[in-house]
């Protein structure tokens, strides 16, 4: 006779691990145990190397600017001071723009806004490292791409205000910009969807024998989406000429990066399993960002395949105007973040080169402030969100299809009739 199978073995009690950030509100954050390689320490392979040779870099950190503001090591892109000043200027414009639009939302001029404070170097330096004709599939924290490519601030603001000059006709949430001429694909609120789209665009460019590449952007939180993994699979399978960027700002609304898997591996190391090149980069170091994107662009452009880049940074402010980070992390944690402020670091570098000083910096701040205020005044002269009346409501039925079918034509008439009844007078 056989022994009966025990219903419960004498085994340890299983325990579910639910990741928890090191610090919560009321705690004093201490990042001193964070391992940060010194600037210049991380080797730079040739962009043509086999993907596997980059994989040690997925747990390193590409850094160029040291604590004194000097550019050091093999990744130093040796940029012309004029370009450094232009990058500094655009990063400052992004920050001032963010501040003014944040305040505009608080003043009730629009419904929503999202800043990228602390992350300005990433989009701005990437814009300089890419060719002007390359295509971006961004998230909502890459406004620096548009600004660095010269998209009018006033038009961005008109989109934020959903006003009469909004190129998207008031159809999209503020900051969900879209502009083909500036190589900036329509932003989605459904996170991660743009990642396989970027790969598809790059595949198309290769199919047509073009020379342009695509750059896809995603936050570390959304790397948990299936779209992240299908994008990497497609990019690897077809060796698509693209750069896939994870902006790891460590916070997805209130969830720290551990909830997306950061406790067990870096986001850059996701590249290893897909067999694509991977780099982990100090995202608060404009020169490191530039050098890494340049490296990956050169690789993609010479049919070397895709690169996954993790930009390690810190979301210095709330997720959006609808978020209050003091509810889940210590107030002032961003001050403790050891990789510093990207604008201050680039400024220090220019000063160390003898190409910048406090006087010029103050003058530039003043100039940018005036420029952004002027754009805001011009944008507001075309209306802000609460002032949007009924003048253009018929347009909400356009562009659902190229040709408006009968059911939408009928609904348009019904909507107009409803608006007339509500207003008590006729409308165009």
């Amino acid at each position: 006779m056989t022994e009966p199978v025990p219903t419960r073995r004498n085994a340890p009690v299983l325990a579910l691990h639910v990741p928890e950030p090191a610090y919560r509100p009321g705690d004093t954050p201490d990042f001193s145990s964070l391992v940060i390689p010194a600037a210049g320490d991380t080797p730079r392979p040739e962009p043509s190397v086999r993907a596997g040779e980059t994989h040690p870099l997925t747990t390193a950190l590409v850094r160029v600017l040291d604590e004194q503001g000097a550019a050091v090591g093999p990744w130093n892109p040796r940029l012309d001071p004029d370009m450094l000043r232009a990058m500094l200027r655009n990063m400052k414009v992004v920050r001032v723009f963010d501040d003014r639009m944040y305040r505009a939302q608080r003043q009730g001029k629009t419904s929503f806004y999202m800043k990228c404070t602390g992350e300005e170097a990433i989009a701005v330096a990437a814009a300089y490292a890419l060719d002007r004709e390359d295509m971006n599939f961004p998230t909502y924290r890459q406004q620096g791409l548009l600004i660095a490519r010269g998209y009018p601030l006033e038009t961005m603001m008109c989109q934020i205000y959903s006003n009469a000059a909004d190129p998207l006709h008031g159809r999209q949430l503020p900051i969900m910009y879209s502009d083909k001429a500036h190589g900036f694909f329509s932003i989605s609120g459904n996170l991660g969807t743009q990642f396989p789209q970027a790969v598809g665009w790059a595949m198309a460019s290769a199919i047509k024998g073009d020379s342009r590449i695509a750059m896809g952007w995603i936050g570390e939180g959304a790397t948990a989406e299936g779209d992240f993994h299908s994008a990497l699979t497609f990019a690897s399978v077809y060796q698509a000429p693209c750069i896939l960027a994870v902006v790891n700002n460590q916070w997805a609304i209130s969830s720290f990066s551990g909830i997306a898997g950061a406790e067990q591996a870096t986001f850059a190391s996701r590249a290893v399993g897909y067999g694509v090149a991977g780099l982990r980069v100090d995202g608060n170091d404009a020169l490191a960002v530039y050098a890494a994107v340049r490296w990956a662009a050169e690789r993609a452009r010479s049919n070397g395949g895709p690169t996954l880049i993790e930009f390690f940074t810190y979301r210095a402010e709330g997720h959006s105007t609808s978020d209050d980070p003091t509810g889940y992390r210590p107030a002032g944690e961003e001050q403790q973040w050891p990789l510093g402020d990207p604008i201050a670091r680039l400024k220090a570098h220019l000063v160390s080169l003898g190409e910048w000083d406090d006087e010029r910096d103050a003058a530039l701040d003043k100039e940018i402030d005036a420029e952004v205020r002027k754009a805001q005044k011009a944008a507001e002269s075309q209306g802000v969100l609460p002032e949007q009346g009924f003048d253009r409501i018929g347009s909400m039925f356009e562009d659902v299809y190229a040709e408006t079918p009968w059911h939408l034509r009928e609904q348009r008439e019904q909507a107009l009739a409803e608006a007339r009844e509500y207003l008590g007078h006729d409308i165009a």
Partner: protein
């Protein structure tokens, strides 16, 4: 003119547009060298090269997502989702991205993407190879939903869909790939060669989207249907000696409302027939439209014929399927009340 079954007609549609438009790219699971599990893309890779027709990873989200990127570049992707039952991993990309891109970019990025997918049951495919999810797509603003019921229409509608500037989901009733089906599963299959709609012209022609076909003129009742059920409805009409007007909708969105209203106003009765599960099916939309527009012409309540609200059962496929008996009883109900 060549005699073709549905698969051959669909294959020929690809060949016609791929030959004339180098921006048409075909990909999906197994569609490349092998030509697809139903052979709809057979020979396309050989004829047009590996970068025009190729295999995709088993990743419907990746297939739809990358097709969106290709369309953003300026290509016209025609993608195959191997079974409609597999489309759900790509659903977010379809609903949130593909369908809305023209709208949310104010017309700057159009999405001329065609998603082909075999759908429907009657082939002992079980729950995961038999579904009819068309209502999940007709509910999406910005999508067009097309379902052919003959080889002639399949080719003409597919070419029209590929040439259309908006995204189209193109569901192919796989039960009738090889021959029309009268609903009698216990009888031998009739090949398409015996059906006049298997005479498919060579070269380019289109069947316009948004236009229904009156496949049988009649006076007693209007039957609104599409896909496999067109043939089941036609057979039931003959078997029961009912002078029904059978309308093959062909395109569900945008719907040919004029043809529907004209017919129902004439017959005064309406039977709505779908293979899909009943609740919230496209038939519910048809019934609502008919009562909104033809109420004072109706002599009886609109009656629905549909699959039961269960998953598609493997062993009881023919209990699920809205076959001749369900048709007969529904015809009696709509005619006698």
């Amino acid at each position: 003119m060549t005699t073709r079954n549905m698969i051959q007609a669909i294959n020929d549609a690809h060949r016609v547009v791929m030959a004339s438009d180098p921006d048409v790219i075909v990909f999906g699971e197994d569609v490349g060298f092998f030509g697809g599990v139903f052979r709809a893309t057979e020979g396309l890779q050989k004829a047009f090269g590996k970068t025009r027709c190729f295999d995709a990873p088993i990743s419907e989200g990746g297939i739809v997502g990358s097709a969106i990127g290709m369309a953003a570049y300026g290509l016209k992707p025609v993608i195959e989702i191997q079974f409609a039952d597999y489309i759900y991993p790509g659903y977010d990309q379809i609903v949130s991205e593909l369908a809305r891109m023209r709208y949310r970019t104010a017309g700057e990025w159009a999405m001329p993407v065609v998603i082909r997918s075999p759908y429907g049951g009657g082939i002992f495919g079980g729950q995961t190879h038999s579904q009819s999810p068309e209502a999940l797509f007709t509910h999406i603003a910005g999508m067009k939903t097309v379902i052919p019921s003959t080889p002639y229409d399949a080719k003409g509608l597919l070419i029209a869909a590929i040439e259309d500037p908006d995204p189209v989901v193109f569901f192919e009733p796989k039960r009738i790939y090889n021959g029309p089906f009268d609903g009698h599963h216990d009888r031998p299959v009739t090949p398409w060669a015996k059906h006049p709609a298997s005479e498919v012209p060579d070269g380019h022609y289109t069947v316009p989207l948004g236009k229904a076909a009156v496949v049988r003129a009649g006076e007693a009742v209007t039957i609104l249907t599409y896909g496999t059920m067109v043939h089941v409805a036609l057979a039931a009409t003959e078997e029961n000696g009912v002078d029904a007007e059978v309308i093959d909708l062909r395109t569900l969105v945008p719907l040919d409302i004029d043809t529907i209203v004209e017919s129902v106003e004439k017959t005064g009765r309406c039977l709505v027939v779908q293979e899909a599960t009943r609740t919230s099916g496209f038939g519910a939309e048809l019934a609502a439209l008919v009562q909104e527009r033809c109420f004072y012409h109706l002599e009886a309540p609109v009656v629905r014929v549909a699959g039961w609200d269960t998953p598609y059962p493997h062993a009881y496929e023919w209990v699920y399927f809205p076959g001749p008996l369900r048709m007969k009883n529904a015809l009696r109900q709509v005619l006698e009340s």
